[in-house]
Symmetry: D2
Subunit: 290 residues, 4 copies
């Protein structure tokens, strides 16, 4: 949090069938529905999140990500970063308070990768779901499916990785935590964090701008990953890969501080980097983009 | 243990390079070397096993399984089963005490599947490794690698599944715990147990008799499976599949009693049966036989 | 299973308040109610059990255990053991089919410890709950609370440990898996098994006969033990001790075969034997008997 | 990291017997010795830490904590905080570069609680132990005992909790993540963080200033907590309490962001807050101070 940006605050996802998507995110992942708005958008959160929502689902003709928003520590931070985004050369749009239910004003911009991002500082804060702030229980009973705890990161495919890194590092205060480089030194994947997490957002080099691979949610333990994979199988959900350890970003202790040097993977080790156990890339993992 | 046969007691495996194999079984799997004999064979065991050894490695020009031995509750049981094996039509061979170091006499026979099996009742019993029988600690310090606890089962490929089942069920007192059947009702895989374990030995239908797929060792927890898969990657060992749940034999509670009906899998569900999470068969899993 | 006795099949427990008890066993432990009978008794099972029930709750003025029943592999085994029980000197009672809903005839006897036990071979077998016998899923969705998998064992306090061991070993085919002895060699605790489990029933020496400490249910993993302990705290249930490893019967690999020598604990190590981590006995653990 | 302070960087601990202490920290906890200096002090680190050391052991006649140091993101931050500490009224001492082997200059001050703390920005950075920064393995082979990953926090007992909170919040940029309050609203325990961790340092109200309860190290999983507790028992180390969940700071998702309201525990719930499962305070936990 070098420049006042705390965390991934929300992601708005376009889905082809809203009812199917709700079943997926609520019954399978275990997110909690917190609101619907006049446009028909559905608001969701993980049970450990204090803010009103972290996922917004919007029915549309094409699947993909509308935007990803980062929560700032104050409105002043939003203003200061807005000035720097303009100076960096970004187009910036002001979204008024209330456009998302329960969320304050947002500053939207497009990164060189082709993705829309937002900064905001204010959102209704009903607190963690099912546990209070006073003498709380360890966890609430009644969470469904995978019991996902919180929105963790997005993996995005797009253009101009170098310039995107400049923006996230210099304007937004993120660190480069891990990277994949080719033999000639070109960075083809970058994992960026504004926190102790191994990554808050990740970019893979891709000829088309603005593509979305996945939004990821935090599960507490390796056993919950097993049970999550079980549920995916039971419900015949499409899956890229069974439970595995990502070499990249999830080995070697799995946390980051600003003074840590980036971990570097050679591109010919990318199989191991992504699927530590199988050590081969999986076609499905690489090809499902929206 | 309907007819006095307790458990898989040992397996003798042919390996192409003994030093490499010892590295694999001792440093990676965590088995303990307990003896070598005049033939150059190496004897190993898991730390929780009370008997002297459960794995024998023999260097040879072709890899594969020489034989798998089952421990009986008494010498009388060995004699009684020997008579029934002869009545069933098996050729039976008597192996004298001491042919395997520390092991009593063995009765060897060939199953209709083409594999050699043995019955025996006597083996030196030095006890669990590193923990005594008096006020024992929970586990010994100093176990290597995956810390495999004990020899669990063999997966074998061969011919005449029906007749092999007859022999194991009627002569040796095993149960059919799980099976895979084709639409016309032909059994193409059978998982057999003499104990509470989901299987002590398994057979897959195959045109060639007597083929060996793997010997399996028991790890205590799902987390130890993760660390085992990590080690396999670190050491660049060939692996069929990362950590996964086998639908077949390892879901649904994972234990067996003689009054339990067999669990049946349709052959078109075999992917799910074997790799519950990916739900597709893996070429490597099916094709590495010796 | 040396003499045809497979496993603990059921336990009938007297409770002071039936509604409270159901809440405990169903909502907290996660057992499934399968029937009620004309006497008002409630029948329960763990989801992995194939038989109709394993726990029977009966409202009464005093809490405790009415009887514990073992399932035999055949009616012939019941008859043969009945003769041997009479020869051993036990009083034996015949309970007709249907006295417990869905259960065949039972043979009841009193052990020297003062507890009532039963043998039976027939019980309705609806199969595992929520998963079929054909292409089953790994586990069913909708299990509550601790998701207990199956009835595991009873811990009983009573008299005449030596004679009780004689009966279980010689008449019923159990093994002595673990024991606690005083410096003069007196056995003050004995853990007996008819299977691969570390114990199916356990006895602690006590001046009063026929006392009941607890019935125990099997949880799959150490993580499920954590979550179970969480639930106990959330619901303000009385608890003897938090998650811990029992030195006795749960260390050192935690399985038994008939050729394994018994593990012996010195009585001055009983604290460590029972509560491996704290290594002191807990007053509550020792004093809550019914 | 509101004011440039990243994390607990080191703690210097006085021990009565250096050889015994090394055995404890290296063989049991699994820390790695990285240096010794002319004064005889021993330097240690957890394997995931990039800096040269996080623990310094010093033999002395009384046990306790000499000081705890926080690493800042830059030397400028150290200077700026130094000014604010003076303005707050702290006595401040400059410790020259090299006083601790491999560490830059430090600014030492005493908090109102009576404890000595330090700020520093520069320390030799040999990287994670046993894994490189290029294509790293998931974890290094050869770590001992509990395989502690990194220095996590100190729990300190002392005076003037309110003024200590003022200093940590206003001067150093920490948040109050959790607190324990009496019925009249007095805060008797406070858990402070500069990061996403539930706490980086904690204070319990105590009549004597400057007392030390424990330094804590991060273990990766609940299973590693079990094995750690096993090791403590095997080695007959004194232990406060077996594996348990702290209600306080480790339930409810176990992470913190600056916009999270503090979690508040009533003092009459302190038992549950600290030992979630037993829900009673443990005499030993409260009374071993140095």
């Amino acid at each position: 949090m070098k420049k006042g940006i705390m965390r991934p605050g929300h992601v708005q996802i376009r889905v082809l069938d809203l009812d199917e998507a709700i079943k997926h995110y609520v019954d399978l992942l275990g997110l909690i529905e917190t609101d619907r708005d006049a446009q028909g958008r559905v608001y969701l959160k993980g049970w450990t999140e204090v803010d009103k929502f972290s996922v917004v689902l919007r029915e549309a003709d094409t699947a993909g990500m509308d935007f990803m928003g980062f929560k700032c520590i104050s409105e002043d931070v939003v203003d200061a970063r807005r000035e720097e985004l303009l100076a960096f050369g970004c187009e910036v749009e002001n979204i008024p308070e209330g456009e998302l239910s329960g969320c304050g004003r947002r500053v939207r911009f497009t990164a060189p990768s082709g993705h829309a991002f937002e900064l905001f500082a204010t959102k209704e804060q009903p607190g963690k779901w099912g546990v209070g702030e006073k003498n709380p229980e360890a966890w609430p009973r009644g969470i469904k499916g995978m019991q996902a705890q919180r929105f963790d990161h997005c993996l995005l495919y797009g253009t101009n990785l170098d310039k995107t890194l400049d923006l996230f590092r210099d304007v937004l205060g993120f660190d480069l935590a891990e990277q994949v480089v080719t033999p000639d030194g070109t960075r083809v994947a970058q994992f960026l964090t504004a926190s102790m997490k191994a990554h808050d957002v990740a970019f893979i080099d891709h000829p088309e701008p603005g593509k979305f691979h996945h939004a990821s949610f935090f599960l507490e333990t390796w056993e919950s990953v097993l049970r999550a994979a079980d549920l995916i199988s039971m419900t015949d959900t499409s899956i890229d890969i069974g439970p595995t350890r990502h070499g990249l970003t999830h080995g070697s202790g799995d946390y980051h501080y600003p003074d840590h040097p980036p971990v570097t993977w050679d591109v010919d080790q990318l199989g191991k980097a992504i699927f530590y156990h199988d050590r081969v890339l999986n076609e499905r993992f690489l090809s499902v983009l929206t």
